[in-house]
């Protein structure tokens, strides 16, 4: 399929559908779908896709959308869905359950501000609230990344060393509704990239087992450890999937994190999704001015790639974390994990949090330049810096 100009939602809907279709030679595909702004176009695309061996169930709630997808997955099918914001919040119980069931479901989430009051614009607080569940979380910054990451997510999730569901996230409107040139892969290539799904613990009459009954504390601990170990294998398997992607599609889908000018950088910005690509513009400009700054663009939030992050920031004296999210009473969610990654390894780094674009506020290069400016002047980290209210400089507290 040639490169087309489509929205991020279109790309996600397409990628989910062709991935499902690719399993037609195995047990097929199914998903539950339920609309929510700004995700709606994704499920519309899925509903319109002519699956050879698949069923799209238009359900009455996000909770049931994940329910249907779980049922399909438990039956050995490739299952997926998409949601956003309060929809995710309503779905939470089943999101968690899919993780505990170790089902390789892929869900595209369009990051939207949690309400009320109601706000449909970009904010990562919705998916980040799912951070403690057994889900892999990947954040994308453009339509191509959405397409490629979604396809890669299936291969990653379904790998027997992993068997974990994956969240593929994109910013509301900034990606979901923004037209851009996108290479939408051919079905034949997708078929080559995604092998038939073989879920080892699928429900079958040959080996009747019960999933989700009771469990004792020690077995619980043991299963948590099993999940932890599977999470631990994700970075390596991700790299394998990335490499296979290049073999099939002839392009690099990107890594768990991508770095820009970090080798000798004294100040490094850590950001994800579209904030990261905007930040890249600022970093490039600053480098041109001879300032030693760099950028770590995070794609993977779970498992949190601590070691890679420390390596990328080896030269940094100061790290600025750009959080388009807010954890009440704490600050930015990414900031917590970045701080934890350095804890006990390096205590000579200033790790400062910047809350940017909360509630979908536009994160401009100017804002990020202000952030860089603030960061450069810090000898020690302070409380999270709020931006986006009135004039940015005044509200830094």
């Amino acid at each position: 399929m040639p490169v087309e100009v489509v929205t991020g939602n279109h790309a996600a809907g397409y990628a989910l559908s062709v991935a499902g279709e690719a399993n037609r030679t195995a047990r097929g595909a199914a998903c539950g779908i339920y609309p929510i702004t700004p995700q709606t176009e994704i499920v519309e695309r899925i509903a319109a896709f002519p699956f050879t061996k698949g069923r799209v169930v238009a359900v009455e709630s996000e909770h049931s959308a994940m329910g249907v997808s779980m049922g399909a997955s438990l039956a050995g099918a490739r299952a997926f869905t998409a949601s956003s914001s309060n929809g995710l919040a309503y779905m939470v119980e089943n999101i968690m359950t899919a993780g505990f069931y170790r089902l390789p479901i892929v869900m595209v989430a369009v990051n939207r501000t949690l309400g009320p009051p109601w706000n449909i614009w970009a904010d990562q607080s919705d998916t980040l609230m799912l951070r403690d569940f057994p889900w892999i979380q990947l954040y994308c910054s453009d339509n191509q990344e959405v397409t490629d990451t979604t396809l890669l997510a299936f291969r990653l999730a379904e790998d027997h060393r992993v068997l974990l569901p994956v969240l593929v996230c994109m910013d509301a409107f900034i990606v979901s509704h923004t037209q851009g040139e996108t290479d939408l892969p051919e079905q034949a290539d997708v078929d080559r990239y995604l092998p038939d799904l073989d879920l080892p613990h699928r429900l079958t009459h040959d080996d009747p087992r019960t999933l989700g009954g009771l469990i004792w504390p020690d077995v619980t601990t043991s299963l948590r450890l099993e999940t932890h170990e599977a999470m631990g294998r994700v970075p390596a398997v991700f790299e394998e999937c990335r490499s296979a992607f290049q073999d099939v599609f002839g392009r690099d889908p990107g890594g768990m994190m991508d770095t820009l000018e970090v080798e000798d950088a004294e100040e490094i910005l850590i950001a994800s999704a579209t904030v990261a690509t905007t930040a890249a513009e600022v970093v490039k400009r600053a480098r041109a001015e001879g300032r030693k700054v760099g950028l770590v663009k995070m794609r993977m939030f779970r498992p949190f790639p601590e070691e890679a992050l420390r390596r990328a920031c080896a030269s940094a004296r100061r790290v600025g974390v750009l959080d388009r999210d807010y954890a009440a009473g704490l600050g930015g969610v990414w900031w917590q994990d970045v701080r934890a990654a350095f804890q006990g390894h390096r205590d000579d780094v200033v790790i400062q949090d910047y809350l940017v674009g909360i509630g979908g506020g536009d994160v401009t290069p100017g804002l990020i330049e202000d952030v860089l400016e603030d960061l450069r002047g810090r000898e020690r980290a302070g409380p999270p810096v709020w931006t986006g209210i009135a004039t940015e400089k005044e509200v830094m507290v």
Partner: protein, 310 residues
């Protein structure tokens, strides 16, 4: 991520119970944790027999309820069929997914939701209604013990008027929801009530359901000695009285529009039914009103069955 260091756990390893290798095919295996005299156990056992008779099998989707506890501790299970214990409201959705994949793969076997009244009448009603509206190809069985038994006996919207629960300490003031009418109103192919005290009727309805496709809703009146505060040995006798007195009519509704009354109540005085359950207190049950309600409901059902016969 670092390699986890394991520190030995405390003094008690709960899971060190002997495991008996699975060697039988029955639906509900002995050695489960259900109370003695549990109506749900009888229902499951009868379901297993009907499946065997029909040379059919099933996959169970069980929401939070005693039936989920029945399974026992992972990885052992008291169920002899593939089973998933879903979240409380999700069983019809999960079953929809299971049934969809079964169907697109051309496989046999029933997909059965086995749910209590809490998951059916209350928290799962929207999910159930949606699955019914979509006419999903599954069987939904509610074993209705009229109480949140799993949590120790709180009111549900299936709890009958007058019953004491831990959340209706003075007896429930509201009436029991008519879930059968609600489900039939979806126009689903088959909706029926079953009583374990009428095993032949019970069996026939299961076989009827197995032979159909689309959404089939079965409601079992399921005694709960613990919640009803009754003698375990009285379980079957109690629900038999409920049918005889007209408290629990045995009916079938086809496509939401054709009716059949299966057992004519003789309108036995329900006094004994109430007296043998300590959840009811004399001054909290209006026997006369109950008798009137039973008769009126039955007359309505009989009228429907005569006017719109199955």
């Amino acid at each position: 991520m670092s390699t986890p260091t394991r520190i030995r756990s405390g003094a008690m390893a709960f899971s060190e119970v002997p495991v008996i290798p699975c060697n039988d095919e029955c639906l509900l295996r002995a050695g489960n944790t259900n109370c003695g005299g549990c109506g749900m156990s009888i229902g499951l056992t009868m379901l297993g027999r009907a499946l065997a008779e029909a040379e059919d099998t099933c996959t169970l989707a069980i929401p939070a309820c005693c039936g989920a506890v029945t399974a026992g501790a992972f990885p052992t299970t008291s169920y002899g069929v593939p089973t998933v214990c879903t979240t409380f409201a999700a069983s019809p959705a999960v079953a929809s997914g299971l049934a969809a994949i079964r169907d697109i793969n051309g496989e046999s076997g029933q997909v059965i939701c086995w749910a209590g009244d809490g998951g059916t009448y209350d928290i799962g009603l929207a999910t159930l209604s949606a699955a019914a509206e979509r006419n999903e190809n599954l069987i939904y069985i509610c074993y209705d013990n009229e109480i949140y038994g799993n949590t120790g006996g709180q009111r549900s919207s299936a709890t009958p008027h007058g019953a004491r629960t831990t959340t209706t300490p003075g007896g429930k003031e509201e009436r029991k929801k008519d879930i059968l009418a609600i489900m039939a109103a979806h126009g689903i192919p088959y909706a029926a009530t079953l009583s374990i005290a009428h095993p032949e009727d019970f069996r026939r309805k299961l076989l009827t359901a197995f032979g159909m496709s689309g959404m089939r809703f079965l409601l079992i009146h399921s005694p709960c000695p613990t919640g009803w505060k009754s003698e375990p040995a009285d379980s079957v006798a109690l629900v038999r009285m409920a049918v005889a007195s007209g408290l629990f009519p045995l009916v079938e509704i086809f496509d939401g529009e054709r009716y059949r009354v299966n057992v004519e109540p003789d309108f036995t005085d329900p006094a004994e039914y109430f007296a043998r359950q300590r959840r009811f207190h004399d001054d909290e049950v209006d026997l006369e009103a109950t008798r009137r309600t039973c008769r009126a409901r039955h007359e309505r059902l009989r009228f429907l069955a005569e006017s719109f016969p199955a």
